[in-house]
């Protein structure tokens, strides 16, 4: 069988989840002694093709069209590539842009689609694993079809490395411009005064804090620690802290020496932004997925534990 991975780039650079998808794709291809192809649409496709030629890649298809990602172009190009290559599995990163065209390709070609997959197996058929209920439960799905479209969660596979001996094929997709009905006009960076990515110590607060007034207790903890206050998305959405404090997929990636997550459940979109040397979690739900990534945890009410911790640290 053939596995076709679609790579992703932004502002001239291939993005890491592309190389992770290559690893996932190679594992699948190995399970059946098949080939691994990769497709890349737009940008400096020749340079992208060189970088995508990692160990285990058999063929790179380049589609030269446009500089940046446009979902209408990608949908058309990838649908045509799938029809030409006839892969058993079409894989893309589960990123904002991966999710922005792959469902349309699947719908158009009538391919069963499963997104945000964290594990894949092929044994006479494709079986995938994904999370439900914000990561508290896992499920496996079997797909009974000759082909399938899958997005794989960033961070779930290591990046493919080394150099392969892939051929490069310039794929001649025909883009119907009248069907391109969205135009990317630019990018905007969301900046702020505080750069949580720079901080050595972060106290991050989540929806468990319940109200803006209650932020005071985490602020006090941050103060004794000399830490910067950060947050998960709901705290930002509620306007309790400014956007520059958001940690996670759409916010900042942080790598502090110490990260204390208070009342944060630990969804993939949050924890994908945290690489801490020491990770502490305080959450009253023993099944919260934050305990999968934490080094130290307390399963208890944050309104009891946080003030007690602040008091304790004041004394030391």
């Amino acid at each position: 069988m053939t596995v076709l991975v679609v790579a992703e780039h932004r502002r001239g650079e291939l993005r890491d989840p592309s190389f992770e998808a290559l690893t996932a794709g190679r594992e699948l291809a190995d399970a059946t002694g098949g080939d691994l192809h990769v497709g890349v649409v737009g940008g400096d496709v020749e340079r992208h093709a060189e970088r995508l030629n990692r160990e285990g890649v058999d063929l790179v298809h380049t589609v030269a069209h446009g500089e940046e990602f446009n979902h209408d172009v990608s949908t058309q190009a990838i649908a045509q590539l799938v029809e030409a290559v006839e892969p058993t599995v079409l894989l893309a990163p589960d990123t904002v842009n991966g999710l922005d065209y792959l469902p349309a390709v699947a719908e158009r070609l009538d391919l069963p689609l499963v997104t945000d997959v964290i594990d894949l197996e092929y044994d006479e058929g494709l079986t995938v694993t994904r999370e439900l209920y914000e990561g508290k439960v896992e499920t496996t799905l079997s797909i009974d079809a000759p082909r399938a479209a899958i997005t794989v969660r960033p961070g779930s596979w290591p990046q493919a490395e080394g150099t392969g001996d892939a051929e490069v094929d310039a794929f001649d997709a025909t883009i119907d411009e009248s069907a391109v009905r969205s135009t990317v006009t630019g990018f905007q960076e969301i900046g702020g005064e505080v750069d949580v990515a720079e901080a050595d110590v972060l106290v991050a607060v989540g929806r468990g804090i319940e109200s803006e007034d209650n932020l005071e207790i985490v602020r006090e903890l941050a103060d004794v620690l000399g830490a910067t206050l950060a947050a998960s998305r709901p705290v930002i959405d509620n306007g309790w802290l400014p956007a520059d404090r958001q940690v996670g997929q759409s916010g900042k990636t942080v790598s502090p020496e110490l990260y204390i997550a208070v009342g944060i459940s630990g969804t993939a979109q949050h924890v994908s932004g945290v690489r801490a040397e020491t990770f502490v979690a305080i959450n009253d739900d023993p099944n919260a997925p934050i305990f999968d990534v934490a080094d130290y945890g307390v399963v208890d009410d944050l309104f009891e534990v946080v003030p007690a911790l602040t008091e304790r640290l004041k004394r030391s």
């Binding site: 932004r10 979902h71 990123t95 904002v96 999710l99 922005d100 469902p103 349309a104 719908e107 689609l113 499963v114 997104t115 945000d116 079986t127 439900l132 209920y133 914000e134 990561g135 508290k136 439960v137 499920t139 496996t140 799905l141 079997s142 797909i143 009974d144 009905r181 969205s182 135009t183 990018f187 905007q188 960076e189 900046g191 620690l225 000399g226 998305r233 709901p234 958001q246 997929q249 759409s250 900042k252 020496e257 040397e277 020491t278 502490v280 009253d284 099944n287 305990f291 999968d292 990534v293 934490a294 080094d295 945890g297 307390v298 399963v299 534990v305 007690a308 911790l309 304790r312 640290l313």
Partner: protein, 260 residues
């Protein structure tokens, strides 16, 4: 202007729960209006409040979801449609393409100017239905929208990408727009609105009503297992009174040397 908003009742698992086969018993689940859909609804209601028009909330689900749908009426939707029948109930899994096919038939029947959806539902988090829906309709789409300005023939959107970066995109209308949390501040319904919504009619449609007959809905995706994930990490969990656990945490923190 007529805006159709797709609505999901999202389920969450209580602190303590048991898995029974491929299900979690209802008594361990709570349900509520999907977080992302609340923002999509609010965005739609604000537009029609400004310019006139109608907001139609559409959901796929059994009678039990009507409580949640009434919330959308209380928060400003003008009408609500619920699609359900035995064929849908018999499906193992409502995957994004199946949902898109059903919602697409509702859009065909209702002919709205725009469709707003949430970016994802909090429970199964496929995040793919809006794009699949746009594709079935042959409409344009814009996803993960956290800022929106509408003109007669175009929607100017900000799409939220990764790492504090937004993409500015112009999307031709009609379009399906998936709305990200934080774009607005969803309103709380007043007691009077809630009471009125209790009395409102919810139109119920089956697949035949929507012209989706027979085997229109087949899915080749089957759920084969449901389980609690093995805890990957080696987290040291402290137990005891808050004073005791706080003391343990304080020791850990002191040992990191961050407090000079």
């Amino acid at each position: 202007m007529k805006i159709l908003v797709t609505i999901t009742e999202a389920r969450s698992v209580d602190t303590i729960f048991e898995i029974d086969g491929l299900d979690i018993d209802d008594r361990y689940l709570s349900s509520d209006l999907n977080e992302w859909d609340a923002y999509a609804l609010e965005e739609a209601v604000r537009r029609t409040e400004d310019e006139g028009g109608e907001v139609v909330a559409v959901t796929i689900g059994p009678e039990g979801v009507e409580g949640t749908i009434r919330q959308t009426l209380a928060k400003g939707a003008d009408r609500a449609i619920r699609v359900w029948d035995e064929q849908l109930a018999a499906l193992d899994l409502l995957d994004p393409l199946t949902k898109a096919a059903v919602l697409g038939a509702v859009v065909d029947a209702e002919r709205p100017d725009l469709v707003f959806t949430g970016v994802q539902s909090g429970d199964d988090a496929f995040g793919a239905t809006p794009i699949a829906l746009a594709s079935t309709l042959g409409w344009a789409w814009g996803t993960v929208v956290n800022d929106l300005r509408l003109e007669a023939s175009v929607a100017h959107v900000h799409r939220e990408l990764e790492g504090n970066l937004e993409e500015l995109t112009d999307v031709e209308r009609p379009a399906v727009l998936s709305i990200q949390t934080g774009i607005n501040e969803p309103r709380h319904a007043s007691l009077r609105d809630v009471t009125e919504a209790q009395q409102a009619d919810i139109a119920v449609r089956d697949l035949a009503d929507l012209g989706l007959g027979g085997d229109a809905l087949t899915s080749s995706i089957d759920q084969t297992a449901l389980y609690e994930p093995e805890r990957e990490g080696e987290a040291t969990i402290y137990e005891g009174s808050p004073e005791e656990t706080a003391a343990e945490l304080a020791t850990v923190i002191e040992e990191t040397g961050v407090m000079q």
